[in-house]
């Protein structure tokens, strides 16, 4: 790389109580390049980026922006230096519309005297419109963000980042919640930004994306800088071994076996509110059944209806051969041995202000402590076991979950449901935001679960995961199950066609 780097960070250190999050890390970024940052959960990726964005202060180290050494005190200063960040967790205000979000706190004012304090809505929407069009997106500037799909929200985030005249845009796991088609859109957008000379920092756990979008890749491990390479010089396996310090033989370890008793049978389930139409499916013990579909196909809604967390209008659900009364509660389903690992970990999977331990035992209070008396010893053994089994990076079970890295938070959610000893698990995007090593572990854990006789229904937006893990796959499209595909016949193309409603499946359901 030649020329003056947009950003050059040298010897960055950052400690949190009990954790050395960054330990002498170097990082630089040139105009027009996409620099991918990879590493295991808790490796320090987000921390490094938050330092560049002014959200955290480094304990030591220097940062140069276009050749000048700077101290970035707060996010506003980062903005004025041309650095924008799109956080791992979305940061849009749900009740405001797209234009208001893009220009939050910076809305254009009316030029008329006396009315200068008022927002010039016309100009704001026109500006937003121009901006969004220049990014080749068709998001409506008047739409309330709450009602937008994840992908469109992401477009707003990018537009917001671009609108401050950013020369550097940092994207922390932008594709975690996107489906393949939306990812393609985002990549086109990134290419466009690159062609304008903007530098992109791209964090992802999806290593196959690195070659598609990256120019250089930097690897962190345990807070330490491992190496920076040209993307063209490394293979996915190289990256994995740099990240994990060893190689991972198999990301999808599966042992297929004869399925047993019927664990879940859904017949004719419909719900107006959830937009589910006459859904039929079943899962047997010993099976992992994949549920594929685009965002908005109704997979999460279906999972919630089955779990008693959202009401449905008609249809029947049977668990282990027992009919379930309509509109049951999660409490009763948990007692029957059903677990739902929800998609949205922050608002549905975790209580962020409680400790790791309190979160881990939350779903198994009745099982672990049948006499309502909490034994500290028993709790500690369950929690410590979970921390060890899932390699959750936390100094102890007492730490508040909000201080864990994104992937480790996800592991806490998994730990919570594994502690329940359930026999039917519904996993909704179980490996979102999890690093490859942990992903392989979660997968082998799922395989172990079904080997022990449990049944798994797995929702995933990653087709390779669906293909690699499932005994059978159901494809959903607009609230219907449109196809059931056995493992032998499942291919990426075929599933995609069903998911987009282009083809009718062999077991059409209505």
């Amino acid at each position: 790389m030649t020329g003056v780097p947009l950003i050059a960070a040298r010897g960055i250190y950052k400690a949190f109580p009990g954790v050395q999050a960054l330990d002498n890390v170097d990082f630089d970024l040139y105009p027009g390049e996409a620099h991918v940052l990879i590493g295991e959960n808790g490796a320090g990726k987000s921390t490094l980026m938050k330092i560049l964005a002014g959200a955290y202060h480094p304990d030591a180290g220097t940062i140069e922006v276009q050749g000048n050494e700077v101290k970035i005190q707060n996010p506003r200063e980062a903005h004025s230096l041309g650095i924008s960040i799109i956080y791992q967790e979305y940061n849009l205000v749900p009740f405001l519309n797209v234009a208001q979000n893009i220009y939050l706190g910076r809305a254009p004012r009316r030029q008329t005297p006396l009315l200068g304090a008022l927002v010039d809505h016309k100009k704001m929407h026109a500006d937003a419109e121009t901006l969004l069009r220049s990014l080749n997106t068709d998001v409506d500037t008047h739409a309330t963000v709450k009602f937008l799909g994840v992908a469109q929200q992401q477009m707003c985030e990018v537009a917001k980042a671009v609108s401050v005249n950013a020369r550097v845009i940092i994207m922390d796991e932008p594709t975690a919640a996107l489906t393949s088609r939306e990812i393609e859109q985002l990549f086109n957008l990134i290419r466009l930004l690159k062609s304008k000379g903007i530098g992109i920092v791209y964090i992802s756990h999806r290593l196959n994306e690195v070659h598609e979008i990256g120019d250089r890749v930097t690897v962190l491990r345990d807070g330490r800088y491992i190496d920076t390479k040209q993307v063209s010089e490394v293979t996915v396996d190289d990256m994995i071994s740099m990240m994990v310090g060893r190689s991972i033989e198999n990301l999808y370890p599966r042992n297929y076996r004869e399925p047993g008793e019927m664990a879940l049978r859904v017949t004719g389930l419909s719900s107006q509110a959830l937009r589910l139409r006459h859904v039929n499916l079943n899962v047997r013990c010993g099976e992992i059944v994949g549920l594929a579909g685009l965002v908005g196909a109704g997979r999460t809604e279906l999972a919630k209806a089955i779990f008693g967390a959202a009401p449905y209008d008609s249809g029947a659900v049977e668990i282990f051969g027992q009919p379930i009364e309509k509109n049951n509660s999660p409490a009763k389903m948990v007692r029957r041995g059903v677990g739902l690992i929800p998609e949205d970990r922050k608002s549905e999977g975790l209580a962020l202000i409680l400790s790791v331990a309190e979160n881990v035992v939350m779903a198994s209070l009745e099982r672990l402590f049948p006499r309502s008396f909490v034994s500290g010893k028993k709790e500690a053994s369950v929690v410590d076991g979970a921390i060890k089994d899932l390699a959750i990076a936390t100094p102890s079970g007492k730490r508040q979950v909000q201080f864990l890295s994104g992937g480790n938070q996800q592991k806490v959610v998994l730990a919570k449901w594994l502690a329940t000893n359930s026999r039917l698990f519904i996993f909704d995007e179980p490996t979102r935001g999890i690093d490859v090593g942990a992903k392989a572990e979660v997968h082998s854990l799922m395989d172990r679960l079904v080997a022990q006789g449990a049944a798994v229904l797995m929702i995933s937006s990653e087709l390779p995961e669906i293909l690699g893990m499932s005994d059978r796959v159901y494809a959903m499209h607009e609230g219907r199950v449109v196809a059931e595909v056995p493992r032998a016949e499942a291919t990426q193309e075929r599933l995609l066609a069903y998911m987009m409603g282009q083809e009718n499946g062999n077991t059409r359901n209505n």
Binding site: P17, S372, P395, K416
Partner: protein
């Protein structure tokens, strides 16, 4: 990810979360020292016992209130429920041939019942806690006035009055009863699954629900506990004053809520606990007692307590954020 402390530019750094956690004890110590210096009577045995005795009644109320606030709710009815239960209990005590314990039980039971109704309104009807308990407050207070029509019920059996005025091993009974209530609640909050559920519901209700926790049961129990505490404190009040009248619980709500927030329980739920509350209430009592000893007109007690609530919440949020910011750097 390594389990080592900062090894590079560590330097001397005050651990703010530690300071935050023990800030209440500092405040208490400071206050005691100050009062001891300015008023000679403050540290005398009688005054100390006096403060603790007064504090124990408020503390019983505050313990129940803490549990409700931990679930991200609030119970504004405690003062009125105290009055109503005191009058119900007193009425039953005055009936011929009714054993004393039945009277006490009637008062406590009345409080628990009103608490249960509050709980049903919040958990089942899904009214905002503020509205449900504010309504209950006026109903309970109004019923007490209507029922007594300006009369006072007074002069009770000595054995009943013992729970308010007596001593056991030289310790006033209210203090002992408060300690017992504290013990029971401490056990519930820290050693029972119900305690876990209460914190979970307060910290994030949707997560708790999807984890199979029975939200309605948990909330109903929280409000019932609060009502029960109000009923018990009502009976202790009647026993101590040897009288029941419609103004029994007036001006108790304010110091109780001030004590809870001073004790570090977050009004957003899920954070804090009953141990802090006891200290918070004692601080409040010292302030009120101090104002009396210093001869400050009692009309100032309201404004001072109101200001304390606001300042305490501001300081608490600030302290929490500073401690958290240190966790996240900066």
């Amino acid at each position: 990810m390594q389990e080592t402390a900062a090894k590079k530019p560590a330097g001397l750094r005050l651990d703010l979360s530690f300071v935050y956690r023990f800030s209440r004890i500092f405040v208490l110590a400071l206050l005691v020292t100050f009062m001891a210096l300015v008023t000679p009577n403050f540290l005398t045995g009688t005054n100390t016992i006096n403060i603790l005795r007064q504090a124990s009644l408020s503390a019983i109320l505050a313990l129940g209130e803490t549990i409700v606030i931990l679930t991200a709710g609030i119970d504004l009815s405690i003062g009125a429920v105290l009055t109503m239960s005191g009058i119900v209990g007193a009425t039953v005590l005055k009936m011929d041939g009714v054993p004393l314990w039945v009277g006490v039980l009637a008062g406590v039971g009345c409080g628990a019942l009103v608490g249960l109704l509050n709980g049903l309104m919040v958990a089942v009807v899904r009214l905002p806690a503020f509205i449900a308990t504010y309504g209950t407050m006026w109903i309970a207070q109004g019923l007490a006035v209507v029922f007594l029509r300006g009369y006072i019920i007074y002069d009770f059996d000595k054995r009943f009055r013992f729970i308010g005025t007596g001593y056991f091993l030289d310790i006033p009974m209210p203090i002992i009863i408060m300690a017992l209530v504290f013990g029971v609640f401490w056990f519930i909050m820290h050693k029972s699954t119900l305690g876990r559920s209460l914190y979970a519901v307060g910290a994030r209700q949707e997560t708790a629900r999807l984890s199979g926790i029975n939200i309605q049961r948990t909330l109903i129990l929280a409000y019932t506990f609060s009502g029960l505490c109000a009923g018990l404190a009502g009976m202790l009040f009647v026993a101590r004053l040897n009288a029941a009248e419609a103004g029994l619980g007036d001006s108790l709500l304010l110091p109780v809520i001030a004590g809870v927030v001073l004790g570090g329980t977050s009004l957003f739920g899920g954070e804090g606990g009953i141990s802090g509350t006891v200290i918070g209430v004692i601080i409040m009592m010292i302030i009120i007692n101090g104002m009396n000893l210093l001869g400050i007109n009692s009309v100032w007690q309201g404004p001072v307590q109101g200001a304390i609530i606001i300042i305490a919440v501001i300081l608490d949020q600030w302290g929490r954020r500073a401690a958290a910011r240190q966790q996240v750097g900066g």
